[in-house]
Amino acid sequence: MRRYAIPAFFLTPATVLIVLFFMVPVVATLLLSFTDISTTTLSKPSWVGLGNYRDLLADPFLKKILANTGKYVALTLLFNVGMGLVLALLTSLVPSQIGDQFRALWLLPRILPPVVYVFIWQGLLTQAPMGLVSDLLGVSKNWIAAAPWSVVILANGMVGASFGMLIFTSAIRAISRELFYAAAVDGATTWQTVRRVILPLLSWPILFVTAYQTLSLLTSFEYILLLTDGGPGFYTTEVWSLRAYHLALSNYFGNVEFGLGAAMAAVLVLIGILVSLFYLKIFNFQNLVVEPKVEVN
Protein backbone atom coordinates (compact mmCIF):
# COMPACT_ATOMS: atom_id res chain seq x y z
CA MET A 1 0.00 0.00 0.00
CA ARG A 2 2.67 2.39 1.17
CA ARG A 3 4.48 1.76 -2.08
CA TYR A 4 1.77 3.56 -4.05
CA ALA A 5 0.21 5.78 -1.45
CA ILE A 6 3.29 7.84 -0.64
CA PRO A 7 4.36 8.69 -4.22
CA ALA A 8 0.72 9.31 -5.03
CA PHE A 9 0.56 11.77 -2.18
CA PHE A 10 3.59 13.62 -3.51
CA LEU A 11 2.36 13.61 -7.08
CA THR A 12 -1.28 14.43 -6.57
CA PRO A 13 -1.12 18.24 -6.50
CA ALA A 14 1.00 18.42 -9.63
CA THR A 15 -1.09 15.79 -11.36
CA VAL A 16 -4.35 17.53 -10.59
CA LEU A 17 -3.08 20.83 -11.93
CA ILE A 18 -1.52 19.26 -15.00
CA VAL A 19 -4.66 17.31 -15.79
CA LEU A 20 -6.86 20.35 -15.28
CA PHE A 21 -4.81 22.83 -17.23
CA PHE A 22 -2.93 20.67 -19.72
CA MET A 23 -4.67 17.37 -20.39
CA VAL A 24 -8.26 18.53 -20.29
CA PRO A 25 -7.50 21.64 -22.36
CA VAL A 26 -5.79 19.56 -25.04
CA VAL A 27 -8.84 17.36 -25.32
CA ALA A 28 -11.18 20.32 -25.03
CA THR A 29 -9.33 22.21 -27.74
CA LEU A 30 -9.74 19.27 -30.07
CA LEU A 31 -13.41 18.84 -29.21
CA LEU A 32 -14.22 22.54 -29.54
CA SER A 33 -12.55 22.58 -32.92
CA PHE A 34 -15.21 20.19 -34.19
CA THR A 35 -18.10 22.43 -33.15
CA ASP A 36 -19.51 25.71 -34.41
CA ILE A 37 -19.39 27.25 -30.95
CA SER A 38 -19.48 31.04 -31.06
CA THR A 39 -21.26 33.88 -29.31
CA THR A 40 -24.63 33.03 -30.78
CA THR A 41 -24.30 29.29 -30.26
CA LEU A 42 -22.61 29.35 -26.89
CA SER A 43 -25.42 27.51 -25.17
CA LYS A 44 -26.24 25.09 -27.98
CA PRO A 45 -23.18 24.39 -30.10
CA SER A 46 -23.56 21.78 -32.77
CA TRP A 47 -21.09 19.28 -34.12
CA VAL A 48 -19.69 20.33 -37.46
CA GLY A 49 -17.04 17.68 -37.88
CA LEU A 50 -14.19 19.00 -39.93
CA GLY A 51 -16.15 22.08 -40.92
CA ASN A 52 -13.86 24.48 -39.13
CA TYR A 53 -10.83 22.93 -40.77
CA ARG A 54 -12.49 23.27 -44.17
CA ASP A 55 -13.24 26.90 -43.32
CA LEU A 56 -9.65 27.38 -42.38
CA LEU A 57 -8.50 26.17 -45.77
CA ALA A 58 -11.10 28.32 -47.51
CA ASP A 59 -9.93 31.41 -45.65
CA PRO A 60 -8.70 33.84 -48.30
CA PHE A 61 -6.33 35.37 -45.74
CA LEU A 62 -4.73 32.06 -44.86
CA LYS A 63 -1.83 32.54 -47.25
CA LYS A 64 -1.06 35.91 -45.77
CA ILE A 65 -1.19 34.55 -42.23
CA LEU A 66 1.04 31.62 -43.14
CA ALA A 67 3.52 33.89 -44.88
CA ASN A 68 3.57 36.20 -41.86
CA THR A 69 4.09 33.29 -39.51
CA GLY A 70 6.95 31.98 -41.60
CA LYS A 71 8.55 35.39 -41.82
CA TYR A 72 8.18 36.03 -38.12
CA VAL A 73 9.57 32.69 -37.01
CA ALA A 74 12.42 32.61 -39.51
CA LEU A 75 13.66 36.15 -39.06
CA THR A 76 13.24 36.26 -35.30
CA LEU A 77 14.98 32.91 -35.04
CA LEU A 78 17.85 34.21 -37.11
CA PHE A 79 18.22 37.19 -34.83
CA ASN A 80 17.77 35.14 -31.65
CA VAL A 81 20.23 32.44 -32.39
CA GLY A 82 22.69 34.70 -34.20
CA MET A 83 22.66 37.35 -31.52
CA GLY A 84 22.80 34.70 -28.81
CA LEU A 85 25.87 33.22 -30.45
CA VAL A 86 27.55 36.58 -30.96
CA LEU A 87 26.88 37.58 -27.36
CA ALA A 88 28.07 34.27 -25.98
CA LEU A 89 31.29 34.46 -28.00
CA LEU A 90 32.04 38.10 -27.35
CA THR A 91 31.31 37.94 -23.64
CA SER A 92 33.56 34.89 -23.41
CA LEU A 93 36.44 36.74 -25.01
CA VAL A 94 36.55 39.63 -22.56
CA PRO A 95 37.51 39.35 -18.87
CA SER A 96 34.87 37.27 -17.21
CA GLN A 97 33.59 39.88 -14.75
CA ILE A 98 32.90 42.29 -17.58
CA GLY A 99 31.41 39.51 -19.64
CA ASP A 100 29.05 38.64 -16.81
CA GLN A 101 27.91 42.24 -16.59
CA PHE A 102 27.01 42.30 -20.24
CA ARG A 103 25.21 39.00 -20.05
CA ALA A 104 23.23 40.26 -17.10
CA LEU A 105 22.25 43.37 -19.04
CA TRP A 106 20.91 41.21 -21.82
CA LEU A 107 18.65 39.51 -19.31
CA LEU A 108 16.77 42.75 -18.73
CA PRO A 109 14.50 42.44 -21.78
CA ARG A 110 13.54 38.97 -20.59
CA ILE A 111 12.86 39.78 -16.97
CA LEU A 112 11.18 43.13 -17.48
CA PRO A 113 7.41 42.79 -17.46
CA PRO A 114 6.35 42.56 -21.13
CA VAL A 115 4.01 45.51 -20.79
CA VAL A 116 6.81 47.74 -19.50
CA TYR A 117 9.18 46.44 -22.16
CA VAL A 118 6.69 47.20 -24.92
CA PHE A 119 5.91 50.60 -23.43
CA ILE A 120 9.61 51.48 -23.66
CA TRP A 121 9.63 50.46 -27.33
CA GLN A 122 6.54 52.52 -27.96
CA GLY A 123 8.07 55.51 -26.23
CA LEU A 124 11.36 55.29 -28.09
CA LEU A 125 9.59 54.90 -31.41
CA THR A 126 6.86 57.47 -31.07
CA GLN A 127 6.74 60.89 -32.68
CA ALA A 128 9.12 63.64 -31.67
CA PRO A 129 9.78 65.19 -29.26
CA MET A 130 9.26 62.14 -27.01
CA GLY A 131 10.46 59.55 -29.42
CA LEU A 132 14.20 59.13 -29.44
CA VAL A 133 14.33 57.53 -32.88
CA SER A 134 12.25 60.30 -34.43
CA ASP A 135 14.55 62.76 -32.71
CA LEU A 136 17.73 61.13 -33.96
CA LEU A 137 16.58 60.57 -37.51
CA GLY A 138 14.92 63.95 -37.81
CA VAL A 139 11.80 62.32 -39.19
CA SER A 140 8.94 62.46 -36.77
CA LYS A 141 6.90 59.33 -37.26
CA ASN A 142 5.36 56.57 -35.31
CA TRP A 143 8.07 54.10 -36.22
CA ILE A 144 6.10 51.08 -35.07
CA ALA A 145 3.52 51.82 -37.72
CA ALA A 146 6.21 52.75 -40.23
CA ALA A 147 8.33 49.65 -39.84
CA PRO A 148 6.20 47.12 -37.99
CA TRP A 149 8.16 44.05 -39.02
CA SER A 150 11.52 45.39 -37.97
CA VAL A 151 10.07 46.35 -34.61
CA VAL A 152 8.31 43.04 -34.04
CA ILE A 153 11.43 41.06 -34.92
CA LEU A 154 13.84 43.23 -32.95
CA ALA A 155 11.62 43.40 -29.88
CA ASN A 156 11.04 39.66 -29.84
CA GLY A 157 14.61 38.95 -30.81
CA MET A 158 16.10 40.94 -27.97
CA VAL A 159 13.97 39.02 -25.49
CA GLY A 160 14.92 35.69 -27.04
CA ALA A 161 18.61 36.35 -27.54
CA SER A 162 19.43 35.83 -23.89
CA PHE A 163 18.20 32.24 -24.06
CA GLY A 164 20.73 31.28 -26.73
CA MET A 165 23.37 33.42 -25.05
CA LEU A 166 23.11 31.55 -21.76
CA ILE A 167 22.99 28.09 -23.29
CA PHE A 168 25.92 28.81 -25.58
CA THR A 169 27.92 30.39 -22.80
CA SER A 170 27.60 27.36 -20.59
CA ALA A 171 28.52 25.18 -23.56
CA ILE A 172 31.63 27.26 -24.16
CA ARG A 173 32.53 27.04 -20.50
CA ALA A 174 32.19 23.29 -20.64
CA ILE A 175 34.89 23.04 -23.30
CA SER A 176 38.02 21.77 -21.62
CA ARG A 177 40.79 24.27 -21.09
CA GLU A 178 43.34 21.95 -22.61
CA LEU A 179 41.70 22.41 -26.01
CA PHE A 180 42.30 26.13 -25.83
CA TYR A 181 45.84 25.72 -24.62
CA ALA A 182 46.49 23.22 -27.38
CA ALA A 183 45.09 25.62 -29.96
CA ALA A 184 47.24 28.41 -28.58
CA VAL A 185 50.34 26.26 -28.64
CA ASP A 186 49.51 25.35 -32.22
CA GLY A 187 49.57 29.05 -32.98
CA ALA A 188 45.87 29.58 -33.68
CA THR A 189 44.56 33.13 -33.72
CA THR A 190 41.47 33.99 -31.72
CA TRP A 191 39.31 33.82 -34.78
CA GLN A 192 40.74 30.43 -35.73
CA THR A 193 40.15 29.19 -32.22
CA VAL A 194 36.55 30.32 -32.39
CA ARG A 195 36.01 28.77 -35.78
CA ARG A 196 37.88 25.52 -35.35
CA VAL A 197 37.44 24.82 -31.66
CA ILE A 198 34.37 26.55 -30.32
CA LEU A 199 31.86 26.57 -33.16
CA PRO A 200 32.10 22.87 -34.02
CA LEU A 201 31.51 22.03 -30.37
CA LEU A 202 28.46 24.28 -30.30
CA SER A 203 26.56 22.50 -33.03
CA TRP A 204 24.38 20.55 -30.59
CA PRO A 205 23.47 23.52 -28.44
CA ILE A 206 22.68 25.47 -31.60
CA LEU A 207 20.39 22.71 -32.79
CA PHE A 208 18.72 22.59 -29.42
CA VAL A 209 18.20 26.35 -29.17
CA THR A 210 16.90 26.51 -32.72
CA ALA A 211 14.40 23.72 -32.15
CA TYR A 212 13.27 25.07 -28.82
CA GLN A 213 12.89 28.62 -30.05
CA THR A 214 11.04 27.58 -33.18
CA LEU A 215 8.32 26.02 -31.12
CA SER A 216 8.04 28.88 -28.68
CA LEU A 217 8.00 31.45 -31.48
CA LEU A 218 5.27 29.55 -33.31
CA THR A 219 3.03 29.85 -30.31
CA SER A 220 4.05 33.16 -28.79
CA PHE A 221 2.13 36.28 -29.60
CA GLU A 222 2.27 38.31 -26.41
CA TYR A 223 4.70 40.93 -27.68
CA ILE A 224 3.03 41.23 -31.07
CA LEU A 225 -0.33 41.65 -29.41
CA LEU A 226 1.03 44.49 -27.32
CA LEU A 227 3.13 46.12 -30.03
CA THR A 228 0.96 46.03 -33.14
CA ASP A 229 -1.99 43.77 -32.34
CA GLY A 230 -1.42 42.18 -35.74
CA GLY A 231 -1.54 45.47 -37.60
CA PRO A 232 -1.10 47.99 -38.85
CA GLY A 233 -3.45 47.65 -41.76
CA PHE A 234 -3.99 44.45 -43.65
CA TYR A 235 -2.94 41.69 -41.26
CA THR A 236 0.56 43.07 -41.55
CA THR A 237 1.96 41.30 -38.53
CA GLU A 238 -0.86 38.88 -37.77
CA VAL A 239 0.61 35.45 -37.16
CA TRP A 240 -1.12 32.11 -36.73
CA SER A 241 -1.27 32.05 -32.96
CA LEU A 242 -2.43 35.66 -32.75
CA ARG A 243 -5.14 35.01 -35.32
CA ALA A 244 -6.35 32.06 -33.27
CA TYR A 245 -6.41 34.28 -30.20
CA HIS A 246 -8.24 37.05 -32.01
CA LEU A 247 -10.84 34.72 -33.46
CA ALA A 248 -11.56 33.01 -30.21
CA LEU A 249 -11.07 35.52 -27.47
CA SER A 250 -10.86 39.05 -28.73
CA ASN A 251 -13.24 40.65 -31.12
CA TYR A 252 -14.25 44.27 -31.19
CA PHE A 253 -17.83 43.51 -32.12
CA GLY A 254 -18.31 40.86 -29.54
CA ASN A 255 -18.91 37.99 -31.87
CA VAL A 256 -16.23 35.47 -31.09
CA GLU A 257 -15.67 32.26 -33.03
CA PHE A 258 -14.39 29.80 -30.45
CA GLY A 259 -14.72 26.83 -32.76
CA LEU A 260 -12.62 28.23 -35.55
CA GLY A 261 -10.09 29.64 -33.11
CA ALA A 262 -9.88 26.23 -31.45
CA ALA A 263 -9.22 24.62 -34.81
CA MET A 264 -6.28 26.94 -35.35
CA ALA A 265 -5.04 26.28 -31.84
CA ALA A 266 -5.45 22.55 -32.35
CA VAL A 267 -3.02 22.70 -35.23
CA LEU A 268 -0.47 24.31 -32.92
CA VAL A 269 -1.18 21.75 -30.23
CA LEU A 270 -0.48 18.92 -32.66
CA ILE A 271 2.74 20.56 -33.81
CA GLY A 272 3.68 21.06 -30.17
CA ILE A 273 3.17 17.43 -29.27
CA LEU A 274 5.08 16.21 -32.31
CA VAL A 275 8.03 18.48 -31.71
CA SER A 276 8.12 17.57 -28.02
CA LEU A 277 8.19 13.88 -28.85
CA PHE A 278 11.00 14.62 -31.24
CA TYR A 279 12.90 16.28 -28.38
CA LEU A 280 12.49 13.20 -26.27
CA LYS A 281 14.08 11.12 -28.97
CA ILE A 282 16.92 13.51 -29.67
CA PHE A 283 17.84 14.34 -26.12
CA ASN A 284 18.07 10.77 -25.00
CA PHE A 285 15.40 10.12 -22.49
CA GLN A 286 17.04 6.93 -21.17
CA ASN A 287 19.84 8.87 -19.54
CA LEU A 288 17.46 10.98 -17.60
CA VAL A 289 15.86 8.19 -15.68
CA VAL A 290 18.24 6.90 -13.06
CA GLU A 291 16.79 4.31 -10.76
CA PRO A 292 16.28 5.58 -7.23
CA LYS A 293 18.56 4.06 -4.62
CA VAL A 294 15.91 3.85 -1.96
CA GLU A 295 13.16 1.36 -2.39
CA VAL A 296 10.91 2.15 0.51
CA ASN A 297 8.54 5.05 0.29
Binding site: Y4, I6, F10, L11, P13, A14, I18, L20, F21, F22, P25, L32, L90, S92, L93, Q101, F102, A104, W106, L107, L108, P109, I111, P113, P114, V115, V116, V118, F119, I120, Q122, G123, L124, A128, L132, L136, F163, I167, S170, F180, Y181, T193, L218, E222, S241, Y245, A248, A262, A265, L268, V275, S276, L277, L280, L288, V289, E291, P292, V294, N297
Partner: protein, 275 residues
Protein backbone atom coordinates in the same frame (compact mmCIF):
# COMPACT_ATOMS: atom_id res chain seq x y z
CA UNK B 1 37.62 31.50 -22.68
CA UNK B 2 40.77 30.79 -20.76
CA UNK B 3 42.95 32.70 -23.17
CA UNK B 4 42.13 36.34 -23.57
CA UNK B 5 42.58 37.59 -27.14
CA UNK B 6 44.90 40.55 -27.66
CA UNK B 7 42.14 42.68 -29.13
CA UNK B 8 39.70 42.25 -26.24
CA UNK B 9 39.32 45.97 -25.73
CA UNK B 10 38.03 46.29 -29.27
CA UNK B 11 35.59 43.47 -28.60
CA UNK B 12 34.44 45.33 -25.52
CA UNK B 13 33.54 48.32 -27.64
CA UNK B 14 31.54 46.13 -30.04
CA UNK B 15 29.75 44.58 -27.09
CA UNK B 16 29.01 48.01 -25.73
CA UNK B 17 27.52 49.10 -29.00
CA UNK B 18 25.17 46.17 -29.44
CA UNK B 19 24.08 46.44 -25.81
CA UNK B 20 23.49 50.17 -26.05
CA UNK B 21 19.76 49.94 -26.90
CA UNK B 22 19.06 48.19 -23.62
CA UNK B 23 20.77 50.92 -21.65
CA UNK B 24 19.07 53.63 -23.67
CA UNK B 25 15.64 52.11 -23.16
CA UNK B 26 16.12 51.85 -19.43
CA UNK B 27 17.42 55.40 -19.22
CA UNK B 28 14.52 56.67 -21.29
CA UNK B 29 12.05 55.09 -18.89
CA UNK B 30 13.80 56.60 -15.91
CA UNK B 31 14.06 60.11 -17.33
CA UNK B 32 10.55 60.19 -18.71
CA UNK B 33 9.18 59.10 -15.38
CA UNK B 34 11.04 61.80 -13.49
CA UNK B 35 10.96 64.90 -15.65
CA UNK B 36 8.35 67.22 -17.03
CA UNK B 37 9.16 66.41 -20.59
CA UNK B 38 11.93 64.57 -22.38
CA UNK B 39 13.23 65.30 -25.83
CA UNK B 40 14.81 62.07 -26.85
CA UNK B 41 17.08 61.54 -23.89
CA UNK B 42 17.39 65.18 -22.90
CA UNK B 43 15.20 66.13 -19.97
CA UNK B 44 13.40 69.41 -20.41
CA UNK B 45 12.19 71.34 -17.42
CA UNK B 46 12.17 70.28 -13.83
CA UNK B 47 11.67 67.09 -12.02
CA UNK B 48 7.96 66.48 -12.15
CA UNK B 49 6.33 64.76 -9.23
CA UNK B 50 2.99 65.11 -10.97
CA UNK B 51 3.92 62.07 -13.05
CA UNK B 52 3.52 60.08 -9.86
CA UNK B 53 0.08 61.38 -8.98
CA UNK B 54 -1.41 57.93 -9.54
CA UNK B 55 0.13 57.09 -6.19
CA UNK B 56 -1.94 59.53 -4.20
CA UNK B 57 -4.91 60.28 -6.42
CA UNK B 58 -7.26 57.39 -5.81
CA UNK B 59 -8.30 56.57 -9.31
CA UNK B 60 -6.98 57.67 -12.70
CA UNK B 61 -9.85 57.88 -15.20
CA UNK B 62 -12.06 55.29 -13.62
CA UNK B 63 -9.28 52.75 -13.14
CA UNK B 64 -9.09 50.97 -9.84
CA UNK B 65 -6.54 52.58 -7.50
CA UNK B 66 -3.00 51.46 -8.20
CA UNK B 67 -2.78 50.01 -4.71
CA UNK B 68 -5.45 47.51 -5.63
CA UNK B 69 -3.44 46.51 -8.68
CA UNK B 70 -0.24 46.42 -6.64
CA UNK B 71 -1.84 44.27 -3.99
CA UNK B 72 -3.21 41.94 -6.67
CA UNK B 73 0.16 41.72 -8.38
CA UNK B 74 1.94 40.91 -5.14
CA UNK B 75 -0.69 38.38 -4.21
CA UNK B 76 -0.57 36.91 -7.70
CA UNK B 77 3.21 36.63 -7.94
CA UNK B 78 3.67 35.39 -4.39
CA UNK B 79 0.94 32.78 -4.56
CA UNK B 80 2.00 31.56 -7.98
CA UNK B 81 5.59 31.22 -6.80
CA UNK B 82 4.53 29.46 -3.61
CA UNK B 83 2.25 26.97 -5.37
CA UNK B 84 4.74 26.40 -8.12
CA UNK B 85 7.66 25.74 -5.78
CA UNK B 86 5.69 23.54 -3.42
CA UNK B 87 3.85 21.47 -5.99
CA UNK B 88 6.81 21.15 -8.34
CA UNK B 89 9.17 20.23 -5.49
CA UNK B 90 6.86 17.54 -4.22
CA UNK B 91 6.43 16.00 -7.64
CA UNK B 92 10.11 16.36 -8.49
CA UNK B 93 11.09 14.70 -5.22
CA UNK B 94 8.84 11.75 -5.96
CA UNK B 95 10.14 11.42 -9.50
CA UNK B 96 13.74 11.82 -8.53
CA UNK B 97 13.83 9.80 -5.32
CA UNK B 98 10.98 7.36 -5.24
CA UNK B 99 10.29 4.04 -6.70
CA UNK B 100 6.84 3.56 -8.15
CA UNK B 101 5.31 2.05 -11.24
CA UNK B 102 4.79 4.56 -14.03
CA UNK B 103 7.68 6.71 -12.95
CA UNK B 104 9.29 6.73 -16.38
CA UNK B 105 5.99 7.51 -18.03
CA UNK B 106 5.40 10.40 -15.69
CA UNK B 107 8.82 11.84 -16.34
CA UNK B 108 8.29 11.47 -20.08
CA UNK B 109 5.01 13.31 -19.82
CA UNK B 110 6.64 16.12 -17.87
CA UNK B 111 9.28 16.41 -20.53
CA UNK B 112 6.76 16.65 -23.32
CA UNK B 113 4.74 19.23 -21.41
CA UNK B 114 7.86 21.14 -20.54
CA UNK B 115 8.38 22.03 -24.17
CA UNK B 116 4.68 22.30 -24.83
CA UNK B 117 3.19 25.55 -26.17
CA UNK B 118 0.85 26.31 -23.32
CA UNK B 119 -0.58 29.54 -24.75
CA UNK B 120 -2.24 27.58 -27.52
CA UNK B 121 -4.48 26.07 -24.86
CA UNK B 122 -5.82 29.43 -23.78
CA UNK B 123 -9.15 28.98 -25.52
CA UNK B 124 -9.85 25.74 -23.74
CA UNK B 125 -8.51 27.01 -20.43
CA UNK B 126 -11.00 29.83 -20.67
CA UNK B 127 -13.76 27.24 -20.82
CA UNK B 128 -12.39 25.19 -17.99
CA UNK B 129 -12.17 28.15 -15.66
CA UNK B 130 -15.75 28.94 -16.52
CA UNK B 131 -16.82 25.42 -15.66
CA UNK B 132 -14.91 25.64 -12.38
CA UNK B 133 -16.47 29.01 -11.64
CA UNK B 134 -13.04 30.59 -11.51
CA UNK B 135 -13.28 32.84 -14.54
CA UNK B 136 -12.54 36.46 -13.75
CA UNK B 137 -11.02 35.58 -10.39
CA UNK B 138 -7.43 36.14 -9.41
CA UNK B 139 -7.33 32.69 -7.89
CA UNK B 140 -8.27 31.09 -11.19
CA UNK B 141 -5.48 32.87 -13.03
CA UNK B 142 -3.06 31.99 -10.26
CA UNK B 143 -3.86 28.31 -10.69
CA UNK B 144 -3.48 28.53 -14.46
CA UNK B 145 -0.20 30.40 -14.31
CA UNK B 146 1.24 28.04 -11.71
CA UNK B 147 0.06 24.98 -13.62
CA UNK B 148 1.51 26.08 -16.91
CA UNK B 149 4.93 26.42 -15.32
CA UNK B 150 4.82 23.30 -13.20
CA UNK B 151 6.39 20.97 -15.79
CA UNK B 152 9.32 23.34 -16.06
CA UNK B 153 9.49 23.58 -12.28
CA UNK B 154 9.44 19.81 -11.85
CA UNK B 155 12.16 19.51 -14.41
CA UNK B 156 14.36 22.06 -12.69
CA UNK B 157 13.79 20.70 -9.19
CA UNK B 158 14.36 17.13 -10.32
CA UNK B 159 17.83 18.20 -11.40
CA UNK B 160 18.52 19.51 -7.91
CA UNK B 161 17.09 16.49 -6.13
CA UNK B 162 19.07 14.15 -8.38
CA UNK B 163 22.24 15.63 -6.99
CA UNK B 164 21.37 15.02 -3.36
CA UNK B 165 23.37 12.37 -1.59
CA UNK B 166 21.55 9.09 -1.31
CA UNK B 167 23.33 8.24 1.89
CA UNK B 168 21.87 11.34 3.46
CA UNK B 169 18.43 10.19 2.51
CA UNK B 170 19.08 6.68 3.78
CA UNK B 171 20.47 8.09 7.00
CA UNK B 172 17.32 10.08 7.56
CA UNK B 173 15.14 7.04 6.94
CA UNK B 174 17.17 4.95 9.36
CA UNK B 175 17.08 7.81 11.84
CA UNK B 176 13.34 7.30 11.88
CA UNK B 177 11.97 9.69 9.29
CA UNK B 178 9.10 9.00 6.91
CA UNK B 179 9.50 10.12 3.29
CA UNK B 180 7.43 13.19 3.99
CA UNK B 181 9.71 14.06 6.90
CA UNK B 182 12.80 13.41 4.80
CA UNK B 183 11.36 15.71 2.14
CA UNK B 184 10.59 18.48 4.57
CA UNK B 185 13.45 18.30 7.00
CA UNK B 186 16.32 17.07 4.85
CA UNK B 187 15.69 17.27 1.12
CA UNK B 188 14.00 20.67 0.93
CA UNK B 189 16.57 22.50 3.06
CA UNK B 190 19.33 20.97 0.97
CA UNK B 191 17.90 22.05 -2.38
CA UNK B 192 17.59 25.59 -1.16
CA UNK B 193 19.50 26.90 -4.18
CA UNK B 194 16.95 25.17 -6.39
CA UNK B 195 14.04 26.56 -4.46
CA UNK B 196 15.50 30.03 -4.61
CA UNK B 197 16.13 29.66 -8.33
CA UNK B 198 12.66 28.34 -9.13
CA UNK B 199 11.06 30.78 -6.72
CA UNK B 200 12.80 33.76 -8.27
CA UNK B 201 12.04 32.53 -11.74
CA UNK B 202 8.39 32.04 -10.84
CA UNK B 203 8.17 35.40 -9.08
CA UNK B 204 9.63 37.32 -11.99
CA UNK B 205 7.59 35.45 -14.53
CA UNK B 206 4.33 35.89 -12.63
CA UNK B 207 5.11 39.51 -11.87
CA UNK B 208 5.38 40.23 -15.57
CA UNK B 209 2.56 37.95 -16.70
CA UNK B 210 0.21 39.70 -19.07
CA UNK B 211 -1.69 37.42 -21.45
CA UNK B 212 -3.34 35.28 -18.79
CA UNK B 213 -4.84 38.02 -16.63
CA UNK B 214 -5.61 40.03 -19.76
CA UNK B 215 -7.67 37.19 -21.14
CA UNK B 216 -9.07 35.64 -18.01
CA UNK B 217 -9.78 38.70 -15.88
CA UNK B 218 -12.35 41.24 -16.96
CA UNK B 219 -13.24 43.22 -13.89
CA UNK B 220 -11.17 46.04 -12.45
CA UNK B 221 -11.08 44.71 -8.93
CA UNK B 222 -8.84 41.83 -10.01
CA UNK B 223 -6.51 43.90 -12.14
CA UNK B 224 -2.80 43.37 -11.80
CA UNK B 225 -0.18 45.98 -12.53
CA UNK B 226 0.29 44.54 -16.01
CA UNK B 227 -3.35 45.25 -16.82
CA UNK B 228 -3.17 48.62 -15.11
CA UNK B 229 -0.26 49.75 -17.26
CA UNK B 230 -1.68 48.15 -20.39
CA UNK B 231 -4.89 50.11 -19.98
CA UNK B 232 -2.83 53.24 -20.66
CA UNK B 233 -1.06 51.74 -23.66
CA UNK B 234 -4.12 51.72 -25.91
CA UNK B 235 -5.55 55.04 -24.79
CA UNK B 236 -5.64 57.74 -27.40
CA UNK B 237 -4.77 60.57 -25.04
CA UNK B 238 -1.44 59.80 -23.45
CA UNK B 239 0.50 61.24 -20.62
CA UNK B 240 3.91 59.70 -21.28
CA UNK B 241 5.31 61.05 -18.04
CA UNK B 242 2.73 59.30 -15.95
CA UNK B 243 2.82 56.11 -17.99
CA UNK B 244 6.57 55.97 -17.57
CA UNK B 245 6.14 56.53 -13.87
CA UNK B 246 3.62 53.70 -13.69
CA UNK B 247 5.97 51.54 -15.74
CA UNK B 248 8.90 52.33 -13.50
CA UNK B 249 6.81 51.70 -10.41
CA UNK B 250 5.78 48.36 -11.84
CA UNK B 251 9.29 47.40 -12.92
CA UNK B 252 10.99 48.57 -9.73
CA UNK B 253 11.09 45.19 -7.99
CA UNK B 254 12.60 43.71 -11.14
CA UNK B 255 15.31 46.34 -11.24
CA UNK B 256 16.06 45.72 -7.58
CA UNK B 257 16.37 42.01 -8.23
CA UNK B 258 18.56 42.81 -11.18
CA UNK B 259 20.94 45.05 -9.27
CA UNK B 260 21.20 42.83 -6.22
CA UNK B 261 21.48 39.46 -7.83
CA UNK B 262 22.90 39.67 -11.32
CA UNK B 263 25.14 36.70 -11.05
CA UNK B 264 22.43 34.69 -9.41
CA UNK B 265 19.95 35.60 -12.17
CA UNK B 266 22.36 34.35 -14.79
CA UNK B 267 22.44 30.98 -13.07
CA UNK B 268 18.70 30.77 -12.73
CA UNK B 269 18.04 31.40 -16.34
CA UNK B 270 20.72 29.14 -17.71
CA UNK B 271 19.59 26.32 -15.44
CA UNK B 272 16.01 27.39 -15.25
CA UNK B 273 15.14 26.90 -18.86
CA UNK B 274 16.82 23.55 -19.16
CA UNK B 275 20.15 22.90 -20.74
Amino acid sequence: MPIRPPSWRLILIVLGLITLPIGVGTLWLLLTALFNQVHGLLPVGNINFGNWRFLWEGSINGRPPIWVALFNSILFAATVAFIEVLVASMAAYAISRMNFPGRRLYLGMILVLHAFPAVSLLIAIYYILRVLGLFDTLFGVILVKASLEIPLGIWLMKGFFDNLSWEMEMAALVDGASRWTVFRKVALPLVRPGILALGTFALLSAWGEFILPYTLIVSGKSWTLALYLQSFLRESFVDYGMMAAVGLFYALPVFVFFLLGQKYLLNIYSGGVKG
